[in-house]
């Protein structure tokens, strides 16, 4: 048990469960990247921020934070959206550009949502390059099938 007014770190799912705007069991303090000081940094240039280090679930976690009645919620929601919008271009260009030698520095700074998008862009590029090389028309065994061991005749007996 603990005293009223004490500060604890608890998992998000627990905070959500305990939260109730009428009964006021818990109130949530924002992690610093969602607070005003950092929000200003994001609006100056969101591209420089290492969202992996700061997150790595900046967008997802930020969206969940909006469940708690915080007067700054509209600003937080707006910052999260604008951050996505300003970083979009670089993720798109580097994931789809064959001539970009080293994208690892950029990817290191992406949060998990952005990394998933980056991978989607890469797949599109890879598929195109396969087609260009004439590999798209080669029939290859499905990766699922390749993992089946060959059945021996003795296995099917009795």
């Amino acid at each position: 048990s603990f005293m009223q007014g004490s500060k604890l770190e608890i998992p998000l799912w627990l905070a959500k469960g305990l939260h109730d705007s009428k009964r006021r069991i818990v109130s949530v303090e924002l992690p610093k990247i969602y607070k005003e000081a950092w929000r200003t940094v994001f609006s100056a240039d969101a591209n420089v921020v290492d969202l992996h280090k700061m997150g790595p679930y900046y967008y997802g976690f930020g969206s969940q934070l909006l469940n708690f009645d915080n007067p700054e919620n509209p600003e937080i929601a707006q910052t999260i959206l604008q951050t996505f919008i300003s970083r979009f271009r670089r993720i798109m260009d580097s994931s789809q550009n064959a001539y970009n030698e080293d994208t690892s520095a950029l990817v290191a700074r992406l949060d998990e949502l952005e990394r998933a998008l980056f991978r989607a862009g890469q797949r599109g590029l890879n598929d195109f390059q396969h087609w260009e090389k004439g590999q798209a028309s080669q029939i290859t065994a499905s990766s699922l099938v390749q993992n089946y061991g060959k059945r021996k005749f003795t296995d099917t007996d009795g």
């Binding site: 679930y57 967008y59 997802g60 976690f61 969206s63 969940q64 909006l66 469940n67 708690f68 919620n73 509209p74 929601a77 707006q78 999260i80 959206l81 996505f84 919008i85 979009f88 271009r89 993720i91 798109m92 260009d93 994931s95 789809q96 998990e112 949502l113 998933a116 998008l117 989607a120 862009g121 797949r123 599109g124 590029l125 598929d127 195109f128 260009e132 004439g134």
Partner: protein, 158 residues
């Protein structure tokens, strides 16, 4: 299987056949291929220049310009005058179109528009960038719903 009639085949006289048959006959050294009228250096230079000049997409002479160029240059380059130049021109045009597509996508995201209409794109271009775009826009849509008051994020999707 489908079936139909082709011909008549008279020696020395050109006849129109489906691309797959043309390639097949060519591979068996039974014919010479005549490239489409647009597969010509002057015509392609015109198209490339227009693509570079305009903000919108140039209507391409074939919805399968990439596929046809690849097939014909791979299997019948001896029948195509200035094949190397043609290859370069088509690639340049493709690069310009893809760059334009990305510019459009970024502009669409920045302005948070709800609807866009891009005429004259071919399937090849759409498929190369499509996966990335649809996923990104889906993510963005979810972030936008955060802005609605009283509608905290319910999704656990990161």
């Amino acid at each position: 299987l489908f079936q139909g009639d082709l011909g008549p085949f008279n020696p020395g006289l050109p006849v129109e056949v489906p691309v797959w048959l043309a390639i097949n006959l060519k591979q068996r050294q039974k014919c010479r291929l005549i490239p489409p009228e647009w597969m010509d250096v002057e015509k392609l230079e015109e198209i490339r220049d227009q693509e570079r000049k305009e903000d919108t997409f140039t209507p391409m002479p074939s919805p399968y310009y990439m596929e046809l160029t690849k097939l014909l240059l791979n299997y019948a380059s001896d029948n195509i005058p200035k094949a190397d130049e043609i290859r370069t021109l088509v690639k340049d045009t493709w690069d310009t179109r893809i760059a334009k597509l990305r510019l459009s996508a970024d502009s669409f995201v920045r302005r948070q528009e709800a609807h866009a209409k891009l005429d004259n794109l071919t399937l090849m271009e759409i498929n190369t960038t499509g996966t990335f775009l649809t996923q990104a826009l889906d993510r963005m849509y979810k972030l936008r719903t955060n802005l609605q008051p009283g509608e905290g994020a319910h999704s656990q999707d990161f």
